[in-house]
């Protein structure tokens, strides 16, 4: 019985790793699609989001079934609860990657945010891709230093997000309305993407250390306005 349980817990871990991998691929392609007005790439991201949702569905069913059949306690319970929560966060990161791809597709054949907002958005995009990569590594290694670094590096995205508002609020810079809308939306999506990365980092820390202080903070709030 315990052997089957161990296998099921391992399967949960593998599914989370696969979900993280696909989420990371999605944000990478979405940011490239945005930069290069690549319609095919944007559509790949949009189509792939269903697969990420399906893995989440699987993980959640597995986790609830495990709780019902095996009634885990202590560390095992922590692993299952963390899996449930992480799957929800990874799914949300996948959604945000799809939203970025939606903008890229919506502006095709133009490039979204070609004007004054381009530079800051691309820096945000690259930082988000970086977060996606780090989250994959973190899910695979459960390295606490990496978790801490994801958390502290979130300020980079927050600062870029602030900068994006400065760009669009400058009335002296010519900007079409669509571009202003895109900078605000994309900035918000990418900033939230980073917040969810922090949430994953905290959950992994909880898993490794058992420190509940970080675990129940399901979301970070980042900076939103100005």
């Amino acid at each position: 019985m315990r052997e089957i349980f161990k296998q099921e817990i391992e399967q949960l871990g593998l599914d989370l790793a696969s979900m993280a991998e696909q989420m990371s691929t999605a944000i990478g392609k979405a940011v490239t699609a945005l930069e290069q007005a690549d319609l095919a790439l944007a559509e790949q991201v949009i189509d792939a989001d269903e697969k990420i949702d399906a893995i989440q569905h699987n993980i959640d069913e597995q986790a609830v079934s495990l709780l019902a059949r095996q009634q885990p306690v202590a560390t095992d319970l922590r692993v299952v609860i963390t899996a449930l929560r992480m799957s929800s966060t990874l799914e949300r990161m996948g959604d945000l990657a799809r939203h970025v791809a939606d903008v890229a597709r919506g502006r095709y054949p133009e490039t979204a945010a070609r004007g004054a907002g381009h530079d800051v958005l691309m820096r945000m995009g690259r930082q988000a891709v970086n977060v996606g990569d780090q989250v994959v590594r973190l899910v695979n290694t459960q390295d606490l230093d990496l978790a801490a670094s994801i958390e502290s590096e979130d300020s980079v995205l927050d600062q870029l997000h602030e900068e994006s508002f400065q760009v669009v609020l400058d009335e002296t810079v010519e900007l079409p309305r669509q571009e202003i809308v895109d900078v605000v939306l994309l900035g918000r999506y990418l900033e939230r993407f980073g917040d969810h990365g922090v949430s994953i980092a905290r959950r992994i820390s909880f898993l490794v250390t058992g420190d509940l202080t970080n675990a129940v903070a399901t979301e970070t709030n980042g900076t939103d306005v100005q």
Copy 2:
């Protein structure tokens, strides 16, 4: 033993109801603060968000402790898992109410979105307040008709959200940059608020009917771009 368990499950329900109540109060005050440039009201919402977060912390600790000590199965397990998920969603709705209040505070003594976007944002705000009220009733009554109505009525917020984009994208309408930014951000916050209401409605349906199809769809995506 079962008597204590029953009491603990009831306590979870009471805490979720209290959390819903405070979230609903928060969105009501935030929308009024936005409409009337009421700084004190905005600050009440911002301060109260910590209390909502604290209830979530409690609910999550209780739920995990229940799982560890009582190892519930069947309906009881479903109740505890749903409580975990609902607390996370209600906390997020509280955050979004606080974001709305943040915008109101940031523009004080001016009113945010005074110009062309005012009307559509206020309609979105009132609809979000309506969602908050309905979620409170739903958590208290677990009425499946109400859950269905929350889900179907989300299209109202989605349509208003679309309308808000039309307003800001119209280059012939004079709009300061700050106002464009506020309409896009507030529109996004309020639309997401509605999505989370749908998420609560689905979880309650899951709780009552046991239909997992709705339960694992942790988020609805709404319409985001254009």
